[in-house]
């Protein structure tokens, strides 16, 4: 190639230290306070008597707007709370870092505020679509919404920090492939799951088609080798991107177990799927119509 290069030898790496420095420089105390607020609220809620926490959970046979909201911030066991706090810390932390370095801070914080304030009521209300004698609680629906917004902040991060060649047309592919992945994980083996199987297959097929459409053509060709090299070359920044990618794949693996029944409780997979889908679709529409340009 017609590039004139004169090597001067030696190199200084910023790597992880550079990444942390950039995050420290760009983050704002108010953002960190906002990010820390949900865990503090949930920890405070854990201090309430268990009867009070049960009263704040969402009873599908006796729904109220108040419990529709509070249910997502109460947990009945310490293990359940810790697991959701770990999930929140990973998703919100990685998402915020990606948004900061991808120039999407305002978008991410707006999405987070929506998830924290509006999604609990929305998710509870949508749970009523499947009437059952049950009581729902826990923060995982909001966590899944944060998983949904992750691809939307990974894209500008990749453009800003890794390569400007990445196209936003891959986003629908990521969404459908992840929905299909969740279906594969959650569908019981050998059960009567025709509808679920068809939906999962359709989602995977749509994801593949979108991926093909987004990467076909010589000007947008997919170069995995180049991407691996770029991610591995950018120590720190590439690591953050890789962690986000691993979260996208691994989080559904733990959030959609094949057997959702544990003792006398049943994991609410429905709210997990709803949270992820709404967490992706709403912000994606907001971006598509240019609300955050």
């Amino acid at each position: 190639m017609p590039v004139t290069v004169t090597s001067r030898g030696g190199c200084a790496e910023d790597g992880v230290r550079g990444l942390l420095g950039a995050l420290l420089t760009r983050s704002r105390p108010a953002d960190l306070l906002a990010l820390a607020a949900p865990p503090l609220v949930m920890l405070g809620a854990l201090a309430l008597p268990v009867e009070t926490r049960r009263a704040l959970a969402f009873q599908y046979t006796d729904p109220t707007v108040v419990t529709a909201f509070t249910a997502h911030y109460v947990h009945l066991t310490v293990d359940h709370l810790l697991a959701n706090l770990i999930g929140y810390g990973l998703l919100a932390g990685v998402g915020y870092a990606l948004a900061l370095l991808g120039g999407r801070r305002r978008f991410f914080l707006t999405a987070l505020a929506t998830y924290l304030l509006a999604f609990p009521v929305v998710l509870s209300a949508l749970n009523l679509a499947v009437p059952r004698h049950a009581v729902g609680y826990g923060f995982s629906g909001v966590n899944m919404a944060l998983l949904g917004v992750l691809p939307l902040v990974m894209l500008p991060y990749a453009r800003n920090q890794l390569s400007p060649a990445v196209s936003s047309r891959v986003l629908p592919a990521v969404f459908f492939l992840l929905v299909g992945w969740m279906g594969v994980l959650a569908l019981p083996v050998g059960g009567d799951t025709l509808v679920g199987t068809v939906a999962t297959a359709a989602s995977l097929a749509l994801g593949c088609w979108y991926l093909y459409a987004a990467t076909r053509g010589s000007d947008r060709r997919w170069n995995p080798h180049g991407w691996v090299r770029v991610v591995s070359a950018r120590e720190g920044y590439g690591d953050l991107f890789a962690v986000a990618g691993a979260l996208l794949v691994a989080y559904p693996a733990v959030g959609f177990p094949v057997d959702p029944v544990t003792g006398t409780s049943v994991l609410n997979l429905y709210v997990h799927l709803l949270g992820f889908c709404l967490g992706f679709i709403g912000p994606h529409i907001a971006l598509t119509v240019g609300l955050f340009d």
Binding site: C11, T61, H133, R159, P164, W227, R234
Partner: protein
């Protein structure tokens, strides 16, 4: 010393910013281009081999990408060596397509890359290149990754391409001519449009234009004058259009304080917005029209359409004595506003906007003949003082009313009596907002809660997880019942996963990072 070859990612995302060109000009661009200033400045990858380093992204914005992810480059291209310097000529071109001259330059803050034309920097206005009509200039770059890490990258939004029409004097200045004095012209294509220009304006100089009552909404609202101050020497060239209805590009006024638009003003201009320090608009309105509509002149205001919505500008109403001293028409109300940014404006009037923020009944159940009260918090969130008649309705029928007068952004609490004569359940609203339902007992042995439809909350289902049906009432007074499964202890449905899942997740991420670290330690195949 390590002998491994390391690659630097040198990626520039060039976003064209404010630009300027004049009037019409034939487009001579072949193929797609990143265009600004109404397609009059075009940026394209250069035709030569180094043009492969530049391409247009999906938003048709020029990208200079010297990394392995550039789809135009061979798969084995690894980028630029760290701690190196070099030049790449003729990467992209800038073409000016109109019938005037333009100064073109690039702004960016970084030290790693310098943009070049013919080997000379083109960064900063002082180093501009002058383009004639349909003339192109090829831009290259010099990079210096000395001291940078292998992941050095120049990101988006750090670069902008500027172009500004060059005054004939300025072009001549290069050969020793002297600039001419300021001249202004105003043309009136029709009663609601003006084209006004000035040339030879010095830096910091203000130029006033008399627009002779350009109609914004007939003669009721007119734009009478504009004063423009430039930050640097150059020309002023505006086209103003007035309309009583919104312009498509800005949409209808949607002000937080609920102001009502009276007219709209659209400005198109051919200059770099950074070249304008401020613009002061002087409007006038027909006082009789204001009086007919009950508008206080002090409630006149101006909104500017910004990227994130409408923002209000400070407006000064010119008192009659000052207007008389300045020779303004004494039969009209004059006001003016100054703005640093230009776009579409809306001449508007503040108006009161009442909201019932909270309404509730003092009692939910009363005996027939007894009364209770409904309390409501009423706020005026609008920008003007005003009054409003608040009505209490029972099942949609007006039962009582009172008039509330509030200053702008003030609130008060009102209490109104509610005393229905007949037994029953009533939906009580205050100005459309629900205050709840009121159950009125018919007699001493009546049961308001029964009348309200409240039922056994425990249900009578089989407790088996969803087949039983119970009638579960809502708030007192709700007259509908809800079918719902129930019975027995409800099934716990926690959202989330256990600690083992969380630790598994963390382990997966650690494995990912470890794999990445390992990959970095494996020598790359050559």
């Amino acid at each position: 010393m390590s002998t491994r070859r390391r690659s630097a990612i040198l990626a520039l995302l060039l976003l064209a910013a404010a630009s300027l060109a004049l009037t019409t000009g034939a487009t001579v661009i072949d193929g797609p281009a990143d265009t600004v200033a109404g397609d009059r400045v075009a940026i394209q990858p250069a035709d030569g081999p180094n043009g492969e380093y530049a391409y247009l992204d999906e938003d048709d914005e020029i990208v200079v990408d010297i990394s392995a992810t550039n789809p135009n480059l061979p798969a084995d291209f690894e980028g630029v060596n760290p701690d190196s310097t070099g030049t790449i000529e003729d990467v992209f071109t800038i073409t000016y397509t109109t019938d005037r001259y333009a100064h073109v330059w690039i702004e960016h803050d970084g030290d790693d890359v310098t943009f070049l034309v013919d080997g000379e920097p083109i960064e900063g206005e002082a180093n501009n290149a002058t383009l004639a009509q349909n003339e192109s200039v090829a831009v290259g770059l010099a990079f210096d990754t000395t001291g940078n890490s292998v992941d050095a990258q120049l990101g988006a939004d750090e670069f902008s391409i500027h172009a500004e029409v060059a005054e004939p004097e300025a072009v001549a200045d290069a050969t020793g001519s002297v600039a001419s004095p300021t001249t202004t012209t105003v043309r009136s294509p029709n009663e609601s449009a003006r084209v006004f220009e000035a040339t030879g304006v010095d830096a910091g100089e203000s130029v006033a234009f008399d627009l002779d009552r350009m109609a914004l909404a007939g003669t009721n609202v007119t734009l009478d004058g504009v004063t423009v101050t430039r930050t640097r020497a150059g020309a002023v060239d505006f086209e103003a259009t007035g309309s009583p209805t919104p312009f498509a590009e800005a949409g209808e006024l949607d002000a937080p304080a609920g102001a009502a638009a009276n007219a709209y003003l659209s400005l198109s201009y051919d200059l770099d917005p950074d070249a304008v320090e401020s613009a002061t608009f002087r409007f006038s309105v027909d006082p009789e029209d204001l009086e007919d509509r009950g508008i206080d002149p002090e409630d006149l205001t101006l909104y500017r359409r910004a990227a994130d919505g409408w923002t209000e500008k400070n407006v000064t109403v010119i008192d009659p004595e000052t207007a008389d001293a300045e020779g303004l028409d004494g039969d009209r109300v004059h006001f003016e506003a100054t703005t640093e940014n230009l776009s579409v404006f809306a001449v508007a009037t503040h108006r009161p906007r009442f909201q019932v923020r909270d309404a509730h009944l003092a009692d939910d159940v009363v005996a027939a003949g007894d009364g209770t009260t409904v309390n409501a918090t009423v706020a005026n969130t609008g920008g003007a003082d005003g009054e409003r008649t608040m009505r209490v309705t029972l099942d949609g029928e007006v039962h009582a009313s009172t008039t509330v007068r509030l200053e702008s952004r003030d609130e008060t609490t009102v209490s109104l009596p509610v005393a229905p004569e007949d037994a029953g359940v009533y939906q009580v609203n205050v100005d459309g907002r629900s205050a709840g339902t009121l159950a009125v007992e018919a007699a001493a042995d009546g049961d308001a809660e029964d009348a309200a439809g409240t039922a056994d909350p425990a249900g009578t289902g089989d407790g088996g997880g969803g087949e039983g049906i119970s009638e579960s009432g809502g708030e007192a007074g709700a007259d509908e019942t809800t079918d719902a499964p129930g019975g027995g202890a409800p099934v716990d449905e926690p959202g989330g996963f256990g600690l083992s899942g969380a630790f598994g997740l963390i382990a997966g991420l650690v494995v990912t990072l470890a794999a990445l670290a390992l990959a970095r330690r494996v020598p790359q195949a050559r």
